[in-house]
């Protein structure tokens, strides 16, 4: 059986600009997949292609094995979507907007846990759309999405505009859906959010995939940062060790996974007194991905 989301070599051009330039994305069933990239990297464009809102110029896109452009409605039946910048109707109340979104997927709002979610997100459904702040508009779309029981959640920077308290509610709701086996595509540039929630990540830049895998896999490819205090001296020609600096016995360096055993032996020989070894944060993976 194919993955819920399979994108290979996706190309989308706007005039002469190539917004997507051979992008690959695979999301396995039941996982939370972080979709990372700087502004303008093509995250939202990819999502719009996944939803069948946008025609593509090359490559393949499949969602639940279907072509989004040809079978948009069948795909939408099995997913819920929260855009990054939520717009709602100015003269409809928040509650009306949520119920509209639910009814448009054939659901009876009374039969969903809409009311419980309204309470959890602390949203007043009687206010008119035009009076809502950005955060409250975001909540409208989140409540409508979490109230549906779907196989796939597509969330485009869903917590922009939410305060930390509401972010926690969001994380809880996401965890509940994940526990039920929902697949989640979570686009973000907030790294800590993805680091906490995602099983696997794809990092894109300028319309191309630059990294993908589990956080552990990506770390495996990356250098650890080592700080140590030694009494003796280190040999100068350690393989896989970079940016080595020794000042009054204080050592800092970056080390490739292959170079770590050699470095540890050398440190031991040099009389190591203290040692810290930090794996790279997603932040660093992220920056690394852009540097190349």
């Amino acid at each position: 059986m194919s993955n819920p989301i399979e994108v290979h070599g996706l190309v989308k051009t706007f005039g002469r600009a190539r917004a997507l330039d051979g992008l690959d994305l695979e999301v396995a069933a039941g996982e939370v997949h972080g979709f990372l990239g700087p502004n303008g990297a093509g995250k939202s464009t990819t999502i719009r292609a996944l939803l069948g809102l946008m025609r593509t110029d090359g490559g393949t896109v499949s969602v639940h094995g279907l072509d989004p452009w040809a079978d948009a409605v069948a795909i939408h039946r099995r997913l819920a979507y929260v855009p990054g910048d939520v717009a709602i109707w100015p003269n409809l109340s928040g509650g009306e907007a949520i119920d509209t979104l639910l009814r448009m997927r054939g659901l009876d709002p009374k039969a969903t846990d809409r009311d419980a979610l309204l309470e959890r997100f602390d949203l007043d459904p009687t206010k008119k759309g035009r009076t809502y702040s950005k955060g409250n508009r975001q909540k409208v779309a989140l409540v409508a999405a979490f109230a549906t029981q779907v196989e796939l959640l597509v969330l485009d920077e869903p917590t922009s505009g939410l305060d930390p308290l509401m972010e926690r509610v969001f994380n809880e709701c996401l965890a509940e859906h994940k526990a039920q086996g929902t697949t989640v595509l979570l686009s973000s540039h907030i790294l800590s959010e993805v680091e906490r929630l995602a099983d696997r990540v794809t990092i894109i830049r300028q319309g191309r995939t630059v990294e993908n895998g589990t956080l552990a896999e990506l770390r495996h490819l990356r250098r650890n940062h080592v700080r140590a205090q030694i009494t003796g001296a280190l040999p100068a020609d350690l393989t896989g060790v970079h940016d080595l600096q020794v000042t009054d016995g204080a050592v800092t360096c970056a080390v490739d996974p292959d170079g770590l055993p050699g470095l540890l032996r050398a440190l031991d020989a040099a009389g190591v007194e203290s040692l810290t070894c930090t794996p790279p944060s997603l932040e660093e993976l992220f920056l690394d991905a852009y540097r190349n």
Partner: protein, 541 residues
Amino acid sequence: MPTATEARAEARTEAGTDAAGTTGLLRLNLRRDRILLPVWIWLLTAMVAASAFATTGLYTDAAERVAASRVINTSPALVALYGPILNEHSAAELAMSKMTVMYALFVMGLGLVVVRRHTRVEEESGRAELMGATLVGRSAPLRAALLEAAAAAVVLGVLCMVVDVAAGLEVAGSVAFGLSWTGAALVGAGTGAVCAQLAASARTCGGLALATFAVWDVIRAAGDIGPDALGWLSPLGWGTRLDAWGDTRWWVLGLYAALAAVLVVAAHVLRGRRDLGNGLLAEGAGPADGQIGSTLALVWRLNRLSTAWWLVASLVSGALFGSVAPHIGSLFDSPAGKAALEALGGKGRVEDAMLAALLAVMAAILSAYAVQVTVSGAREETDGRTPEVLAATGSRAQVFGAQVLVAGAGLAALAVAYGAGSAIGYGSQVGGVGDALGRLVPAALAHVPAMWVVAAVAVLAWAWSPHQPWIGWAALVAFVTLGEVGPLLELPDWVIGLSPFQHVVAVPVQPVDVSSEVGLVVAATLLLAVAFGRYRARDIG
């Protein structure tokens, strides 16, 4: 979970996947339009009722009716505005003369507004994307909008038939007339649907559609004054050529249906060729650096392009009408016409009268520029951009002043452009462009104070609250309507006098009335003062 092939088969068997969700969207749209749609239909029906009942009561004998019809037919300005009256003996045709062409424009506008509001505006705001991820097919928003417009068109047409029959007009003619309005609304909706596919913004979409209507009306006017064949090229000319109140050409109704069908099919084809949120006409790139350093410069920059189009339109329509003026003699070819011509003071005088009448018409039309500038200023506020501007300059007076200055100066520039255009058009036919400029440009400027009053009312509406920008448009329509229908309904003079356009004399036929011009300027100033007082004191946003 079904396999891909099964799922695809399941998707295909769903009836009309592309149109899925149309019913739900239609319900949502009707809910959102529960005030706009009834009010618009009701107002148009009321206009028909007022004209039908008033006219039948106003002219008691046939001779009076024929005389009134002949007044319209022998005035090129009125023919340009309302179209000719084919059967001068028909009370019904006289009663519906303004409805057949001029108000048909508002009927087309109804179709346009409904379609634009639920397609391009929704895409621009991002709501279409939110809805598009639910069980909504690609063409469902367009279909829902067109269905609503079609329903409104039918309801409006039927109401007009009923009202006309109730007023005692011929049944067959009432049916033909009502159907012509249904047809006009459908054509307007189709035009809106195509423009919504072409333009990437709601504003450009509206501009394109209105420009199309304007071109149609100019072709129609030229056809009504000059070669009849031209009028067949314009949907706005079909209402007259249907001849609802005489030897009715029923097949003309098929023209509306055919054009609307072509436009709707074209819109669907175009929709399939573009992405949600994009238009087929690509947005051009802008400069990398900005030169805007003041509120006034910003407001001007935001209105620059549309102002340029308004100026071109003023100049061209002035030139068109100016060059038609010397040829009006042909309308007086009959012996009775020649007598009427002499009674009016000879050919030169009649030409001046026509130019003056057209000036008055254009003054009302050009006032729309100020309303448009003000309404877009209100949108700056409701869209949340005004606070940024205020935070940068710290002065509400600057924002208010910049809006008023662009609207007011723009109106004066448009009047000069129209006056110059008509002088060039007129002068090119009879010689003496310089002399014509000297007469017609000041004549056009004489209308500016009345236009400023319209601008001031629109500004007051915005200053009061930015959330009801349509009030400016309603005021303009009300002013025009007062002048058109007030005398028919025998309203008291002071009510008709509420319209600023009633206080401008027919220059260049009559000398400028300085005191009423000053009065108009004072009225505009007072309105602006009240508006500024309110704008300074109220909440922004």
